[in-house]
């Protein structure tokens, strides 16, 4: 028995050694790349998770404990920016789905639009534009009556949005053209963004805008600072790259299940250590040292590790050579994604999911306001809950074989609804007993987490398959153009997303999170969104009953894509040979 096991270990070792630099037959990824994925994706993932501590939203600790911005202000800013978002999105998709390679004339026009936006944005920020309006008129009076905003600051917020998009848009074309041919569509952004991102992470903690006593001024200046912060990305793009690492779907699953999954260990360890460090700060979660020292140093370390090990990770999507790439014009892109029925199903689900928009993170309330956790104890409970999802994930291939995507997803939605229901019951029945109530909630969270990871992995896999299907339908993956569904769902979700914030406001939740220390208010603030969210989960199960994309269809789609690659590559080679002969 032991000898058998030893033999297997030796076999694995030999396999790794043999194919350290060159992949096995039928495979595309050598094991050395597995090692790189483990370190680089792990660092990229941990770094991107750290950035979840910094965002312009009510749930950010910087907002909770330092800026104290009114809860509805974030929604109002979203609404101010909403109409122009459609314009930016249109231009952005066109650029992104053509990988930044545009016709010269179109490129000049787009650059002009972006530079005009930069100038206009700066003008709106610097000039007192609101003074052009009648100060006693209906428009100015209306704007002054909004939470945390007045007419003057509304123009500055709009200016920030326009400036940001002009700047980000022109950067996008410039860096894509420069870096994409060398680093591929997923990795390139890390190379231009990681250094400025490190600087911005530090500046967020060191520019003390929260000391501004006037809330209106605090709002627009914070919005400007966070806009500058979010220009530079450090998304989990290496993982996206690694998920497209092989045209062999089995190898994709293998890479996703082992090196990628194991790489998340870095984040798991960090998730334990970081709260311990925060627990040592004099004011714990409320201590500004978190943003001045802890996050910049930790993020900087992971960002550097990411860049050191990302070099050898390659994307291997079967696609025609760049010269033969299908050019997508705007309307083709838009109609292309709208022909994809699976994207419609997914987006109807997202629409229903918006019922839960605006709710506060239940775990934040549970850990910080019910349990009052910090330090190692916080780490252990958070780690326990998040680790609960890891063991089931190793069985993802089994579940994928045994059950369909439809079955898994419907089960997931029902499990969320049931979990939320149990939490609500425990809050209502044991509200006076903080420890008992909190313990029940943690147990339910663990069970919910266990039910979550397999559907999440299967969902990621299906997202990639649906992009493969999109490539079959339109000749490109049109990942950015998929945002067109957001155009239709956006107006509805932004309106529906007001339900919870307004209900919370009626129960005292505004800019001061300490209201969550008030038992009765906390109960309402937790329960109302959870109940609405539960209804959302039940409704979200319905569209999945119409899902019929299976393994057989995926295999055929991939075969079509490979056939296209084969034929176009042969044509390209023939053209080149002909050109050489003619010369």
């Amino acid at each position: 028995m032991a000898g058998n096991a030893l033999g297997k270990v030796k076999g694995v070792f030999t396999e790794i050694k043999t194919h350290w630099k060159t992949p096995a037959e039928g495979k595309y990824v050598p094991y050395r790349e597995y090692k790189d994925i483990f370190i680089a994706v792990g660092s990229n993932y941990a770094g991107s998770k750290l950035l979840e501590y910094i965002w312009f939203g009510a749930g950010c600790y910087l907002m909770m404990y330092h800026y104290h911005l009114p809860y509805l202000t974030f929604t109002i800013i979203g609404l101010i920016n909403m109409p122009l978002n459609y314009v930016w999105a249109m231009i952005g998709w066109y650029i992104n789905d053509n990988l930044g390679f545009l016709e010269k004339k179109k490129e000049r026009i787009i650059y002009s639009v972006y530079f005009f936006a930069i100038v206009l944005g700066l003008t709106l920020i610097l000039a007192p534009v609101s003074r052009l309006f009648d100060q006693n008129g209906a428009f100015v009076t209306f704007m002054n009556g909004l939470e945390g905003i007045n007419c003057d600051s509304a123009f500055k917020i709009l200016g920030t949005h326009i400036l940001w998009n002009g700047w980000a848009g022109s950067r996008n074309i410039f860096w894509r053209k420069k870096l994409l041919p060398k680093f591929g569509r997923y990795k390139y952004s890390l190379y231009c963004d990681f250094l400025p991102k490190i600087v911005m992470v530090a500046l967020i903690g060191w520019i003390p805008l929260w000391t501004i006593t006037d809330v209106v001024e605090r709002v627009w200046k914070a919005n400007l600072l966070f806009a500058a912060f979010s220009i530079f990305g450090f998304g989990n793009s290496l993982e996206a790259c690694a998920q497209n690492i092989s045209p062999n779907t089995r190898e994709r699953v293998l890479v996703r299940t082992y090196p990628i999954k194991l790489s998340h260990l870095a984040h798991s360890i960090l998730a334990i250590i970081l709260p311990v460090i925060i627990g040592w700060l004099p004011r714990k979660w409320e201590d500004i040292g978190l943003y001045k020292w802890v996050l910049p140093i930790t993020f900087g370390t992971f960002a550097i590790l990411t860049m050191v090990f990302s070099g050898r990770i390659k994307e291997r999507i079967p696609q025609p050579p760049l010269e033969k790439k299908v050019q997508i014009n705007f309307w083709d892109g838009m109609f292309g994604v709208m022909r994809n029925k699976y994207k419609w199903i997914q987006n109807i689900v997202y629409l229903l999911d918006s019922l839960g928009n605006g709710m506060l993170a239940f775990t934040t309330i549970l850990y910080l306001y019910t349990f009052r956790l910090s330090g190692l104890l916080y780490s252990l409970i958070v780690a326990l809950v998040s680790f609960a999802g890891t063991p089931p994930d190793f069985f993802t291939p089994f579940f994928m074989k045994r059950f369909s995507y439809k079955q898994i997803t419907i089960f997931y939605q029902f499990s969320r609804a049931l979990g939320n229901g149990l939490i609500v019951l425990s809050l209502l029945l044991f509200r006076r007993n903080v420890v008992l109530c909190g313990s029940i909630c943690v147990v339910v969270l663990i069970l919910m987490e266990m039910c979550k990871t397999v559907p999440t992995s299967v969902g990621h896999d299906m997202d990639i398959r649906i992009n493969d299907y999109q490539m079959y339908l339109s000749g490109e993956r049109l990942e950015s153009f998929s945002g067109v569904f957001g155009w239709f769902t956006g107006p509805i979700t932004s309106f529906v997303g007001l339900i919870i914030p307004l209900l919370l406001l009626n129960h005292g939740f505004n800019s001061n999170w300490d209201v969550l220390f008030i038992d009765d208010s906390r109960l309402y603030i937790i329960i109302i969104p959870l109940l609405i969210d539960t209804v959302g989960y039940l409704l979200m199960a319905i569209p999945y009953f119409f899902w019929d994309y299976d393994d057989d269809k995926q295999n055929k789609v991939m075969a079509v894509l490979r056939r296209r690659e084969e034929v176009t590559a042969a044509a390209q080679a023939a053209e080149e040979t002909e050109a050489t002969v003619n010369e």
Partner: protein, 427 residues
């Protein structure tokens, strides 16, 4: 076949499933139909071809989007733009102020009759530096047939501008959370004819002054103004180390502290209401012997409070109790300490729980002790109880984690309670 060969074969088989499927299927895809080939059960690809009815579709998309976005933005702003005053019907009749949303820079407000209209008059002037400044004045139209009788919970939630509120004679019910987080609120005045409430120098009480309801968060600003201290400093959380210290040092005298950062609760008071002193900038608080209840979060987040002591007898000419009439810590008459009552009272160094206390809420002393490192503990890292341990446990209904805790290596350490203590004569 050896084990190794078998394993290699199995491995290759798995890897080559895709390849074999492709090899079998690719012949079904003719070379000239690679962009049109339709997989059974899926939609047909549409590549490099104009979309049929493209113009009509484009118009439809644009039309739907423009309508959807316009409707969404209109209704969203319509919902978000709350009227400055939202009223409802009070229990038992009358008008209740549900929510006040500051129309901009309204600093003073009289709560007597329902406001039906707010007229704003803004003027823009240029200051000495050549910068333009906007000044707004408000004129409120009130309906005298609609007297305000109640203030709803969170009626003034998180308003950072309102400084003075006058409660009219018809207001008979004020929720304890009505003025929650009004950081700029300096004084609450009550019409002398009000049957249920009164104020003592800007602090809100019930009529017979047995309950202190609200000590405005920025009451110290009012006191500075009252005692002629010009300017203002803002003691941030680390104020002892920042620029404010210069301003503070300029003002600092014991007299300043007695006048601005000290409060003596009137001797008639039996109850300190929920949230009564939340976020105050007090350094010293004197409670009367005879006080029975410190309600939930009564002294919540008083970061700078150093002493909460008890006094008996008459006050001196300066409004403070004479030293010989001061007892260290809480009054013997106290029976109830609400949850989070002393949350974050980190500057305090002594707490005595008298023998009559029968209830202590959860987290009552949370965040009031800290380990500064190298074994240096500050705050309420030790609590002292009059009763012995057995009697205490038999008598006191204590909530979860009532004692608080402090860092002690990797895990926090619960604050210790010393039972059966005598009250010390002095700090």
């Amino acid at each position: 076949m050896s084990k190794k060969e078998h394993a290699e074969k199995k491995n290759r088989k798995n890897n080559l499933v895709d390849q074999s499927f492709y090899d079998g299927y690719k012949d079904a895809i003719p070379e000239d139909q690679i962009w049109d080939f339709q997989v059974e059960g899926l939609q047909k690809p549409w590549i490099r071809k104009p979309m049929p009815n493209a113009r009509a579709k484009k118009i439809a998309v644009v039309f739907i989007l423009v309508i959807a976005i316009s409707i969404s933005i209109f209704f969203s702003f319509w919902i978000l733009h709350t009227d400055p005053f939202k009223y409802g019907e009070a229990e038992g009749g009358g008008t209740e102020l549900i929510r006040f949303s500051n129309p901009g820079e309204l600093l003073e407000l009289a709560l007597d009759y329902a406001v039906t209209d707010v007229l704003t008059e803004a003027t823009v002037t240029t200051n000495e530096k050549g910068e333009s400044e906007r000044h707004t004045s408000y004129s409120l139209t009130k309906d005298e047939t609609q007297p305000i009788t109640a203030l709803h919970e969170y009626a003034f939630n998180c308003d950072e501008r309102i400084q003075r509120i006058t409660v009219g004679k018809t207001v008979t019910s004020i929720d304890n959370k009505a003025f929650y987080s009004c950081y700029a609120l300096r004084e609450i005045r009550v019409d002398p004819e009000n049957p249920n409430y009164c104020d003592v120098d800007g602090v809100l009480f019930n009529k017979d002054r047995t309950e202190l309801i609200c000590y405005p968060i920025d009451h110290d600003a009012y006191l500075r103004e009252k005692y002629g201290y010009e300017g203002q400093y803002w003691p941030s959380d680390n104020w002892k180390n920042d620029e404010a210290v210069d301003k503070y040092n300029e003002y600092y005298t014991r007299e300043y502290e007695d006048q601005v950062n000290t409060y003596v609760v009137p001797e008639t008071v039996k109850v300190i209401g929920p949230l009564a002193f939340n976020y105050s900038e007090l350094f010293r608080l004197y409670l009367p012997e005879g006080l029975e209840r410190l309600e939930t979060m009564a002294i919540f987040r008083n970061w700078h409070i150093e002493r909460v002591d008890t006094y008996t007898g008459a006050l001196g000419a300066d409004g403070l109790p004479a030293p010989e009439h001061i007892k260290v810590s809480l009054p013997d008459s106290l029976t109830y300490i609400g949850s989070d009552c002393f949350n974050s009272a980190i500057e305090m160094d002594y707490m005595y729980i008298p023998a009559n206390v029968t209830f202590i809420g959860h987290h009552a002393f949370w965040g009031a002790a800290r380990n500064e490192g190298k074994g240096k503990l500050i705050g309420l890292y030790e609590l002292h109880a009059a009763l012995d341990e057995a009697a205490f446990k038999a008598q006191v209904d204590a909530g979860d984690q009532w004692t608080g805790e402090y860092d002690n290596g990797l895990f926090p350490k619960r604050v210790a309670v010393v039972y059966g203590e005598e009250r010390p004569a002095a700090h």
